[in-house]
């Protein structure tokens, strides 16, 4: 309207208002001035209502979190359990290895009666079997981790479906990289590279 509010129309409104005023027609000149005022405010009102409409639409269309996001809690609990299980298995293995070392040391000292030698060897054999059995944690943690991978993938796809691509740049920018994973982390160097690097730095 503001753009189309042509000059002739404006001139006419002003002339009519002037005539009415000169003629003492108060209602007449007020009507003309009101028409001018309305013409001035209408674009602003239209703009405001368009903004309000767009805002309403945007709010109505706000993405809701994918339902899979609720599974993240579950994934965290499972991973905590994996940390616990692997720690327990490691300690159990270390306990058994320590005992084997002590038994081996006693056997090396010699002088043990034959029966005690036999018992020590049996115990070492038993511990080695236990160590092997303890590694069965890998089956369980492997299954749990696979399940968590499934959850993470579904959440990732859920966000992807909303058009919310994860940020790919600046990953781990502020944190430490942690253990390098072959094929995923390309920044990592090997011990040999590290040795070269350090000897280049005088170490």
């Amino acid at each position: 309207m503001a753009v189309t509010m042509d000059k002739a129309w404006l001139v006419q409104r002003l002339q009519e208002a002037l005539h009415a005023l000169e003629a003492g027609d108060e209602a007449g000149w007020r009507r003309e001035i009101d028409a001018l005022a309305a013409a001035r405010t209408q674009p602003m009102m239209a703009g405001l209502s368009r903004l309000a409409r767009e805002l309403g639409q945007a709010l109505g269309e706000l993405p809701t979190l994918p339902s899979e996001a609720g599974e993240l809690d579950d994934a965290c609990a499972r991973l905590d359990h994996v940390v616990e299980m692997t720690e327990q298995a490691s300690h159990r293995t270390l306990d058994l290895a320590d005992e084997c070392s002590a038994l081996a040391a006693r056997l090396r000292e010699g002088g043990l009666p034959a029966i005690e030698q036999e018992q020590a060897l049996d115990r070492i054999r038993h511990n080695l079997t236990e160590i092997a059995l303890t590694q069965s944690y890998q089956d369980l943690t492997g299954q749990i981790i696979r399940r968590v991978v499934g959850i993470v993938r579904r959440v990732h796809e859920g966000f992807g479906a909303l058009g919310l691509p994860p940020e790919t740049h600046g990953r781990n920018a502020q944190g430490l990289a942690g253990p390098a994973v072959k094929g995923v982390d390309h920044h990592a160097v090997s011990q040999l590279d590290a040795d070269d690097l350090l000897s280049g730095l005088g170490l």
């Binding site: 300690h91 430490l176 990289a177 090997s190 011990q191 590290a194 730095l201 170490l203």
Partner: protein, 126 residues
Amino acid sequence: MRILIVDDFSTMRRIVKNLLGDLGFTNTAEAEDGHAALALLQSQPFDFVVTDWNMPVMTGIDLLKAIRADARLKTLPVLMVTAEAKREQIIEAAQAGVNGYIIKPFTAQTLQEKLGKIFERLAASA
């Protein structure tokens, strides 16, 4: 030779302790982060520090910097044993004054080699 082993994972502290024991270093103590390590170093005599990098409360690199900034500790040899394997990190550790850098996972042989190298260099400079 008294060695302080610093790692937030108890299993790794045990493994390092066992490996050091096999190499004849049986006098060891443990700390679970840089902050606890620094408190021990400032209250008891140690000859060597083996530290992880990524630990809560205080990281290994901050521990190294704190050791080098402490008048009484600054010459203490520090061996970093860590999963952190970026070039920039190795350079950062070297610039902070690390004496050796081992990337996890590591072997008993690597540990022995690095310890040997550090002692050799210390003996040569003494």
